[in-house]
Structure formats: C-alpha cells, structure tokens
Amino acid sequence: MQLEYFLIVAAALFCVGIYGLVTSRNVIRVLMSIELMLNAVNINLMAFSNYLDPQDIKGQVFSVFVITIAAAEAAVGLAIVLSIYRNRDTVDMEQFNLLKW
C-alpha cells in the first residue's frame, strides 16, 4: 500500500465533486457534490496522517474538525434551500439569480 494510491483516489473524488457542483441543476445535488469534495479532502488528510505522521496523528484531528464543519454546513445549506424553495417554488439552480447582477 502506498500513499500515492490514496491521494489519486482523493483527487478523482474531488474532480467528480467539482463536475457535479458546476453542472448540477438541482440544489440538493449541489449540496451532495460539496459533501463529496469535503470527503476527498478528508481522505487526503487521513492518508498524510497515516504515512507521514503516524505517531502524532494530527491529520486525524483535522479530519474530525472537517467532519464537524461539514455537518454544520449541510444543516445550514439545507435550511437555505428550504427557505428559497418556499419563496421561489423551484429547486432549479438556473432560476436562483437574485444576487446576480
């Protein structure tokens, strides 16, 4: 097992997340893509923690923090989605242009 394998898997997951973030029309799918990207970063942190710093595992502490932030982000993101859905009656990203010139 090598560090590079995990890093390449994380890079692939991050790129899939970016693709979904840019091309999705549904708001919920955008949130799911953000979760994918956060998980890719977490895999990176854990791989570095295991292979470069196995005795003083600070990478695992960092990923615990990232998991916490991700949970808070998902809750607030879904609340915003619910609020927008109630006002605009749609989940289409292309119609959420309130703040766009």
Binding site: I43, Y51, A72
Partner: protein, 205 residues
C-alpha cells in the same frame, strides 16, 4: 493494520472502485433519490478506506456523522422539496458540461502528475493504531483546545441559524368557524370511542 499486503491491496481496490463509481452515480444519475442513497454508499466506503489507514475512531465518526446525520438530513431535504419538475433545457448546455469535464479531467491529470512526481517523506515509525483514540483526545484537549471550543460555538451558531432560516415567518391564523383544511386531516383519523363489551347501537352497521 496487520492484514497481509495482498488483502490490503484487494480491499483498497474494491473500496476505491465503490467510492468513485458511487460518486459518479451521485453526480450523473437523473433521479435524486438514487443519488442520495449512492451518497450513503460513498460515505460508507470512505469509512472503509479510513480503517485501511489505521484510523478506527474517524471511521466510526464518519459512519455516525455522515451516514447517520448528513445523509439522512439530505434525504429529508429531498422529501421536503421534492418537486417533480422538468428543468427547462438551456441552450448549449452540452458545451458547458463538456468544458467542465475538460477542466475536471485536466485538474485530475495535474494532481496525479504532482502526486506521482513528488518524493514524499514517508515515515517508518509504527502507526498508532488503536491508541489513536487516546491521541486524538490528548490533541483535542491540549494543543487543539481553541479550535475545539470554536467548533462547538460554530455548531451552536449553525443550529440557531438553521432553525431561523427554515422556520415559517408567520403561522396563518385560522378563524374559529373555518372548516379544518384538507391537509391537516389524517386519513386514519380515529372514530368515536366505543365502550368495550357494549353492544353496538342499532342502525350502526
């Protein structure tokens, strides 16, 4: 992790295939409910990768927080806003998708060449393994104490903010004489209670 090298390689291959395949399913499938369940599969497989990386505690936290909380939250969000609407097709949508795919592929190629071209300073010390829970606890209460407290404050703020964002601004007040709106009636609304053992009244078949 004291598994044989071959077992580790094989399980890593299976887990990474599951992660990438399910992530592609999350992004590309048209039914969003399928996407949400595949997202749970992504999270569970990533937890398996963490176990391969000698991190049992974070693997358990991943299952608890992601599969148990975030995925369920997303499923509830889908149920609350699930509007079966066909999005108006944009002109030249394929062009944007193509450009995005090209950018993502380029980013992946860039990251891969960087990862493969770097000489990492691999440590040869033994991994902490099952002692990682103790080490994480020591870190959280010594040198990461301030971020830990800030994370708790952030969770509190997120909790309050989510409630304020998602609640209704007003409750439509109802006149006393109004009939009950149709949406509030339960289909299995209980009938009037009948005393046990008494004969049903006549005419009530």
């Amino acid at each position: 992790m004291n598994l044989a090298e071959g077992v580790q390689i094989v399980s890593f291959g299976i887990l990474s295939l599951m992660v990438i395949g399910a992530a592609l399913g999350v992004v590309l499938l048209s039914n969003i409910v399928h996407s949400a369940f595949l997202l749970g599969m992504v999270f569970a497989s990533i937890s398996g990768l963490y176990i391969l990386l000698n991190a049992g505690f974070v693997a358990a936290a991943q299952i608890l927080v992601y599969v148990g909380a975030v995925n369920i939250l997303i499923l509830f969000g889908i149920m609350l806003v699930n509007k079966q609407q066909d999005f108006v097709p944009l002109p030249n949508a394929w062009l944007g998708k193509l450009a995005t795919a090209a950018v993502c592929g380029g980013l992946f190629a860039l990251l891969s060449t960087m990862v493969l071209g770097t000489t990492w300073a691999i440590s040869t010390e033994a991994a902490a393994g099952d002692g990682s829970v103790v080490l994480i606890g020591m870190h959280l209460f010594s040198d990461f104490l301030l971020p830990f407290e800030l994370a708790s404050v952030l969770l509190l703020i997120a909790l309050v903010g989510a409630i304020i964002l998602a609640r209704r601004e007003f409750i439509p007040d109802e006149q006393p004489g109004d009939p009950q709106p149709e949406g509030l009636k339960l289909p299995e609304r209980p009938r009037d209670l009948v005393a046990v053992g008494s004969a049903p009244p006549d005419g009530d078949a």
